[in-house]
């Protein structure tokens, strides 16, 4: 819950209302790092499934 509140706060513009959006830098970093980490975890999960069930899964959307 605290993380969600922090995430919501980070996702707000740092500039006053009515001005152009100004990002908080942790928000920018998360937009890059979070999907990278999730992609790594998903690749690992697919590898584990392949090893357990002896099947070949797809390569990933391009």
């Amino acid at each position: 819950m605290a993380f969600w509140q922090w995430l919501t706060a980070m996702s707000q513009s740092a500039s006053p209302a009515g001005e152009l959006f100004a990002p908080h830098w942790p928000y920018v970093a998360l937009a890059l790092v979070a999907p990278l980490i999730i992609g790594l975890i998903l690749a690992l999960i697919l590898k584990v499934i392949e090893n357990i069930f002896g099947i070949k899964l797809g390569g990933g959307d391009i």
């Binding site: 995430l7 919501t8 996702s11 707000q12 513009s13 152009l20 959006f21 990002p23 928000y27 920018v28 998360l30 937009a31 890059l32 979070a34 999907p35 990278l36 999730i38 992609g39 790594l40 998903l42 690749a43 697919l46 899964l57 797809g58 390569g59 990933g60 959307d61 391009i62």
Partner: protein, 335 residues
């Protein structure tokens, strides 16, 4: 269960300021706009949407990438700039996955890759700036109803592109069906544009020894990168469906080198796209997580189905789905 998307809510309030002064919530198919302007979207709808998009991607390939932003806008009323930015952040995850899963034999032409990335980043930034301009451009009155310019322009652009993709899918399905009855392979369409571009000898000409190309105009490589980058920055698609044929047919790059170089380009482009769109406030992190963890299993399911079901009949279905989406998009604008 509905979840409030902070970035989508922020832009919702900018694009439709009247919605921030409501007496009671406004309900759509799968979303609700709260009296304070916050946008709450059904979690179940987003999960089903992610799975379906993944399924279509696994079954039909890259063309389904064009569906994500329009469907996010249709289903969740998510502004187009947020849909595109979030799609690009999601693409970082899928590109990481693809690079790990499809790790080839290391046939990356780094010289070609760097030049492509250079062109792509320029095109992507132009696309992202164009989207930013549209987002801040305000609204227009259409059929007695005020609508944001970004909603109108993106509906027209996506509508046109989806119509083109739908017609290509339909033609492909029809020729595959005819080939089945004629007991032969479907014909390869002539690539007149590719042949014309191959003849461009605008200096400087460079060689690509790794790919076995003796001389190619630098401008053609940068142009291919810029066009695909523009599509990525403006529409949130990977551009592989243009980049791959362009590498093989226009530049004459061997297929194996094209695949590996495209994978590298895809990851770098996704990272830069996520960066520039997050700086502009277009990435909704929660939405990105939901899309990423649902599209990947859906993609695997789509790949499995592709092996089991007859292709051309489902291609006709896909063309029908695209047609229905186009009609719904225009209905949303005009109603």
């Amino acid at each position: 269960m509905a979840i409030t998307l902070p970035i989508a809510s922020h832009w919702q309030q900018i694009l439709s300021p009247d919605l921030g002064r409501l007496a009671e919530p406004v309900h759509g198919w799968f979303y609700a706009i709260q009296p304070n302007g916050d946008l709450a979207v059904s979690l179940a709808a987003l999960i089903v949407l992610g799975l379906c998009l993944g399924l279509l991607g696994g079954f039909f390939g890259g063309a389904s990438g064009f569906l994500m932003a329009p469907l996010l806008n249709l289903v969740g009323h998510i502004p187009y700039n947020v849909a595109v930015g979030t799609e690009l952040s999601t693409m970082v995850g899928t590109a990481t996955l693809a690079n790990l899963r499809q790790r080839g034999l290391g046939y990356i032409d780094y010289k070609l890759g760097i030049l492509l990335i250079l062109g792509s980043v320029i095109g992507l930034e132009i696309g992202a700036q164009l989207l930013k301009y549209l987002t801040y451009a305000g609204g227009v009155t259409l059929v007695g109803r005020k609508i944001s310019l970004v909603q109108l322009v993106m509906t027209l652009v996506y509508g046109g592109l989806l119509a083109w993709i739908g017609s290509q899918v339909y033609r492909e399905a029809r020729s595959a069906r005819q080939a089945e009855f004629a007991d032969g392979a479907p014909g390869v369409p002539p690539l007149a544009m590719a042949t014309r571009l191959q003849r461009v000898a605008l200096p400087p000409l460079i060689s690509l020894p790794m790919s076995g190309v003796e001389a190619v105009s630098l401008w053609v490589i940068l142009g291919v990168g810029a066009v695909t980058g523009l599509l990525t920055g403006l529409l949130g698609v990977s551009g592989s469906f243009i980049r791959m044929p362009a590498l093989i047919y226009i530049l004459g790059i061997p297929t194996v080198v094209s695949i590996d170089t495209n994978l590298l380009n895809y990851l770098v482009l996704a990272l830069y796209g996520a960066f520039t769109h997050s700086v502009k406030g277009n990435v909704d992190l929660l939405l990105m997580v939901i899309l990423l963890v649902t599209t990947v299993p859906g993609y695997q399911g789509g790949g499995w189905l592709r092996k089991k079901l007859p292709g051309h009949r489902l291609q006709l279905l896909f063309a029908g789905i695209i047609c229905a989406i186009i009609i719904t998009m225009f209905w949303k604008v005009l109603r």
